[in-house]
């Protein structure tokens, strides 16, 4: 019995054309746990979609080995495809097919003949009133819901979600995130999610890997990642003057960001460092405002991609 949903060992992807060669992945090593939501975060062009496409067997890696649900991604691709599915943030399905027809068509591709499966998904994803509406007439939110519903036609054990809330209005995106969380919980499936939104990863993912320029730069739980960077809290201080002077290095301060009249300090403990930091800043101008908060994934992400 396999313990990981996906295992990547030294995975390289090199796109070759007549004129050039582009290295998209550089020796990725990654283990994605079973039965959890795993986040794959990174900036544009980092290699997230390439990696997820390899895991979903749509793309063949140039080098290395990928094991999905205990099966080899190249040798056992067809067997893997029966047990996985994918939904992307670019909501594209056959335009002239209705919600029902699209789901029925994709269900048939998995050998699912029972029409009740399709009807249940329509209800589950709140698409009943759009059942007979053609795909190109749906709103972006409903297109995305349909795409997500499509990813469950074969009752998969592992679902890849490639930026599933991209371009959606915040309330729609929130509802969709809740749906993803509920489905994962109810069905006990494994989910690999790529996203740009740190809040999304923070809300949904139990473990996260950061990918940048084709390499995994960090991998762990949210807390582990924050600890890894030793940043726990962020102190932001606003003063009444433009800041031009360099600050001396302070103990327990790992990073300083400057933005006009405010300075942000990433520290190991706000409780211990606030006095020292505030004293130094006071030398630059009169303090107008101090905000202390816990470091979030966005901060970790920004630090990692630097």
């Amino acid at each position: 019995m396999f313990v990981h949903a996906v295992v990547c060992e030294d995975v390289w992807m090199i796109y070759k054309s007549l004129k050039s060669e582009k290295i998209a992945l550089k020796g990725i090593n990654l283990k994605i746990p079973k039965g959890k939501i795993f986040g794959l975060l990174g900036p544009n062009g980092a290699g997230k979609t390439t990696l997820i496409s390899i895991m979903a067997t749509i793309l063949k890696q140039t080098r290395g080995r990928v094991e999905v649900l205990g099966l080899d991604s190249i040798r056992d691709a067809k067997e893997i495809r029966k047990r996985i599915n994918i939904a992307s943030g670019n909501p594209n399905l056959i335009w002239s097919l209705t919600v029902y027809e699209n789901l029925r068509y994709y269900a048939m591709l998995y050998g699912v003949r029972d029409r009740r499966v399709v009807e249940n998904l329509i209800d589950e994803f709140e698409l009943r009133e759009f059942r007979d509406v053609e795909f190109n007439r749906l709103s972006t939110g409903n297109k995305q819901k349909l795409l997500l519903a499509r990813a469950f036609v074969n009752d998969p054990e592992l679902v890849f979600l490639d930026e599933p809330t991209k371009g959606l209005d915040p309330p729609v995106a929130k509802r969709l995130r809740e749906k993803i969380a509920d489905m994962q919980k109810d069905l006990g499936i494994s989910v690999v999610l790529t996203t740009h939104y740190m809040s999304e990863a923070e809300m949904l993912c139990e473990r996260i890997a950061f990918i940048n320029r084709g390499e995994i730069v960090a991998n762990g739980s949210k807390e582990e990642l924050k600890r890894m960077l030793k940043m726990k809290d962020k102190i932001t201080i606003e003063i009444d003057a433009e800041i031009s002077m360099q600050l001396p290095s302070l103990e327990g301060v790992y990073m300083v960001e400057r933005d006009g009249k405010s300075l942000s300090f990433y520290v190991d403990s706000a409780e211990r460092r606030l006095w020292d930091v505030a004293s130094e800043v006071a030398k630059l101008g009169r303090i107008k405002n101090i905000v202390v908060r816990e470091v979030d994934l966005e901060d970790v992400f920004n630090e990692l991609v630097k």
Partner: protein, 263 residues
């Protein structure tokens, strides 16, 4: 591999092509309007030239065959294009289908459309020109099946080229049947062609299927058994093209073409 599952996966493409055709006025036009228009034009030309019955049948058989081929090949040729145009290729290829599910399913619908087109053209030639193109039904079925295999050949070439060359190959969906028209002797006997081109025409199964149909109207064939030769060539070519398609798909998977088509 369960047979009923494989049938279901294959019929998924038949179902999809049916819905797209049903909803697209242009594809209904392709099946009904253009073939009838082509037949009437060619028929009127034949009447103007005062062709005797046999030669009149010769050119009408050509017009009917060309239309049936064009109509039935579109479904196979478009099977990838429908996904490429709607940028949903990754969702089709992430499912556990084989390439043959895709080709066979779309071909089945192509056959249906081809039969409808043939029936319309058959009755049109009777109504407009008083010409009965009926030959003994078993032979007619064998002829039509040969034309449908030729349609599959064109479709397979188009799909493979799309996976190899990308969008640039889209034009093949329209041009290949026109090239067939030139080389296979749709409106003239292939004996008229220069020797090199004639050799190429003998390698194309459609040439032999056409000669077979026309042989019922007293025309000579280039080979003794054109039907058998046509089928042998068609089966070899279908087999070869399936391998080409598998190779093209594998190449597309390594080069990221499928993800590119989905973005």
């Amino acid at each position: 591999m369960s047979l009923s599952n494989e049938v279901c996966k294959t019929l998924a493409f038949t179902y999809r092509n049916f819905i797209i055709t049903k909803r697209n006025f242009f594809t209904i036009f392709e099946t009904l309007f253009w073939p009838v228009l082509g037949l009437i034009s060619v028929g009127l030309m034949g009447m103007y030239l005062n062709l005797e019955q046999g030669y009149f049948a010769f050119i009408l058989i050509g017009a009917v065959t060309l239309s049936v081929l064009q109509v039935s090949q579109l479904d196979v040729a478009y099977v990838l294009l429908f996904d490429i145009w709607s940028k949903s290729l990754r969702y089709t290829f992430v499912s556990p289908i084989s390439s043959w599910n895709m080709i066979l399913g779309s071909w089945l619908f192509g056959i249906t459309r081809g039969i409808v087109a043939f029936a319309i053209l058959f009755f049109s030639s009777m109504i407009f020109f008083g010409l009965n193109l009926l030959i003994p039904p078993p032979f007619l079925i064998l002829f039509l099946f040969g034309v449908f295999l030729s349609a599959m050949i064109i479709g397979l070439i188009t799909c493979s080229l799309l996976l190899i060359f990308g969008y640039r190959a889209e034009i093949f969906a329209w041009t290949l049947s026109a090239i067939f028209m030139l080389v296979c002797g749709i409106y003239y006997p292939v004996s008229l062609l220069p020797e090199v081109v004639r050799f190429i025409s003998y390698l194309i199964p459609l040439t032999h299927f056409l000669e077979y149909y026309r042989s019922f109207y007293g025309f000579e064939t280039s080979f003794e058994n054109p039907l058998l030769l046509g089928y042998v060539l068609a089966l070899f070519q279908v087999l070869f093209l399936f391998f080409l398609y598998f190779w093209a798909f594998d190449r597309a998977r390594s080069r990221g073409t499928i993800t590119q088509f989905s973005e």
